[in-house]
């Protein structure tokens, strides 16, 4: 039987997941995810054409509250766990490519 998921798909999913995988991990996950997805095939034994999907089981729909000003966490607490900060900002590498020299 053909594998449910091949190495190229695993690499694509890893990219979507923002996970840099080693070749060994790609190999391992291809094998394991295929086995798991084979098992998931079981669901196709059931005819669900007339069944509604169920995202959660709560007897509630929308939750509203008054739109009023409340105290928030504050800058120091918000930044306290930042891996890198610059003053009152989270610090990250450059997002825009400036190699054009512009």
């Amino acid at each position: 039987m053909a594998k449910k998921i091949d190495q190229a798909q695993v690499k694509k999913v890893a990219k979507l997941s923002r996970l840099q995988l080693t070749e060994a991990e790609v190999d391992e996950f291809t094998h394991q995810l295929s086995a798991i997805l084979d098992y998931m095939e079981k669901l196709n034994e059931l005819d669900t054409s007339n069944v509604e999907s169920l995202a959660h089981c709560l007897p509630i729909t929308n939750i509203f509250r008054e739109d009023c000003v409340k105290e928030s966490l504050g800058t120091e607490k918000t930044l306290a766990n930042a891996p890198q900060r610059d003053g009152d900002f989270f610090k990250v590498p450059k997002i825009l490519d400036d190699s054009s020299g512009a």
Partner: protein, 492 residues
């Protein structure tokens, strides 16, 4: 005196402290002595707060001595799973990505424990981000089963279950997404309750599967779980999925606990139960005899969709996880890779370096199930099957008060036995998962031991918001048996 103190259950200790017969400081000191002695072997705790706990205990003792009013858990040493936020210590989720994370606020359950004057003594180990059934996926340390240290404590709340079974606290909190309270409780011979989805606030519980996660107690006795529920249950405006008490009122779960249920009707699902090991099946059959003797009527029912629970669950839970764990981006908090080449590497290398294998596997599986071209075939299909599974329960509860089944198909397995075979590990969740998909409460209570002296758990499932009834049904069995009184030899 030392041992006698640690032999008490949570409620007994609570009563004795309130009556001034035992000091909270004595209880806290005894627990820390036990932790120093046994936790190097058991590995239940990720962090402990000795100074803070003793200082809180002294405050409680002074209050009681002065005759001031105190909370429902005054002076009682309790532990919490390390996926609940605390402003003290760290909140790691047993993950390297959060190893040095200090939460800026307390989870609502933590606030509630503190308001009830409980003494929080430490935070317990878990499978990384609560993903696993053995606590072997912890990125920080190993926890073993107090009944046999070569075996797993179950998971993901394995630290909480091992701590309660090893008498390293008087009660603990766990979280249950697919059995993570009930299964470790079952494998460690203690009581574990997963409340109805929405009964206990999830605010400050680090999210895994948001439509499935629920916090609940791990305790020595059913009464202790009722006591813990009195403290933690109820609506929380900070959690929009916590249910309004006008829709489903909370009650004093201890008040009527000892009133047996009249005309109790229990359902069993014979075909489904046949998948468990012989000794597990025998213990469940014996438990049913106990209920029969107490006057319960036993009916056999068919729940045709239960067999599909694992497949549906591992799509839904991983889809939700892949979305929830997107927040670990190496920017706002948590581990960041050194010298990233570009901003994409901040995400992809930070995550690759600090997430463990099972977490990566689940993020991958969930992302795949949600990705373009596969969404309908996997995620949507799973949500529909979820509805069918809930329908099975709705139909069943028209005919009975509760359903009885095993907690786990086997007793505690060997460390390393299933770790390289994720599907086999997933299949061990067969009996616990359906309650999460249906959002209903379920409890695991001790009901026997196998030939290796390993505990066996009995699971009782009840309709949504029927915790009071569920606890009363559970205590009927507990009163007739003494399985819950046995102690692992390691601490004897």
């Amino acid at each position: 005196m030392q041992n006698k103190l640690l032999d008490m259950d949570c409620k007994e200790l609570r009563d004795q402290i309130a009556a001034g017969q035992v000091k909270s400081t004595e209880a806290v000191e005894s627990v820390f002595k036990a932790i120093e002695k046994y936790d190097p072997v058991l590995g239940a705790y990720i962090s402990i707060f000795k100074e803070q706990a003793l200082s809180k205990a002294r405050q409680i003792d002074n209050k009681i001595a002065a005759g001031e009013p105190v909370g429902q858990l005054a002076g009682v040493p309790v532990a919490i799973k390390d996926n609940m936020c605390t402003t003290f210590g760290s909140t790691t989720c047993a993950s390297k990505i959060l190893e040095n994370f200090h939460a800026p606020y307390n989870a609502t359950v933590v606030e509630k424990l503190l308001a009830a004057d409980a003494v929080i003594i430490g935070k317990t180990n878990l499978d990384e981000f609560a993903m696993g059934s053995s606590t072997e996926n912890s990125g920080l340390k190993k926890t073993v089963n107090p009944w046999d240290t070569s075996r797993v404590p179950g998971g993901s709340s394995g630290g909480s279950a091992a701590a309660v079974a090893g008498r390293l606290c008087f009660a603990a909190l766990g979280s249950d997404t697919g059995g993570s309270i009930r299964q470790p409780a079952g494998l460690c011979g203690v009581v574990g309750l997963k409340p109805t989805y929405g009964r206990v606030s999830r605010f400050g519980l680090v999210a895994f599967g948001s439509s499935l996660d629920q916090i609940g107690p791990v305790t020595q006795t059913v009464a202790d779980s009722a006591l813990m529920m009195n403290v933690i249950a109820g609506h929380d405006p900070a959690d929009s999925t916590s249910v309004d008490e006008a829709i489903a009122p909370v009650c004093d779960y201890l008040e009527k606990l000892d009133e047996p249920l009249d005309k109790l009707k229990i359902a069993i699902v014979p075909q489904f139960n046949a998948g468990a090991d012989e000794q597990v099946q025998k213990s469940i059959a014996d438990a049913i005899k106990v209920y029969k003797k107490l006057g319960a009527e036993i009916i056999e029912i068919n729940m045709p969709h239960l067999d599909y629970a694992i497949a549906a669950y591992y799509i839904i839970a991983t889809a939700e996880a892949s979305s929830n764990l997107a927040r670990y981006d190496g920017v706002h908090y948590g581990h960041r890779t050194e010298n990233p080449q570009d901003y994409i590497e901040v995400y992809s290398k930070s995550r690759a370096e600090a997430f463990g294998k099972e977490v990566k596997r689940r993020i991958m599986l969930g992302t795949y199930a949600l990705s373009s071209g596969y969404y309908d075939a996997y995620y949507l299909k799973a949500l529909k099957v979820r509805n069918l599974i809930r329908g099975d329960f709705t139909n069943a509860f028209e005919k009975c008060d509760c359903i009885i089944m095993p907690v786990s198909p086997t007793t505690a397995f060997k460390i390393g036995e299933k770790i390289d075979d994720p599907l086999t590990m997933y299949l061990s969740d067969i009996y616990t998962i359906a309650a999460n998909l249906a959002g209903i409460p379920a409890i695991s209570i001790p009901c026997g031991f196998d030939d290796n002296n390993l505990p066996i758990g009995l699971q009782i499932l009840a309709p949504a918001f029927a915790e009071e009834k569920l606890l009363r049904i559970a205590v009927m069995f507990e009163k007739e048996t003494d399985w819950h009184k046995r102690k692992p030899t390691i601490i004897n």
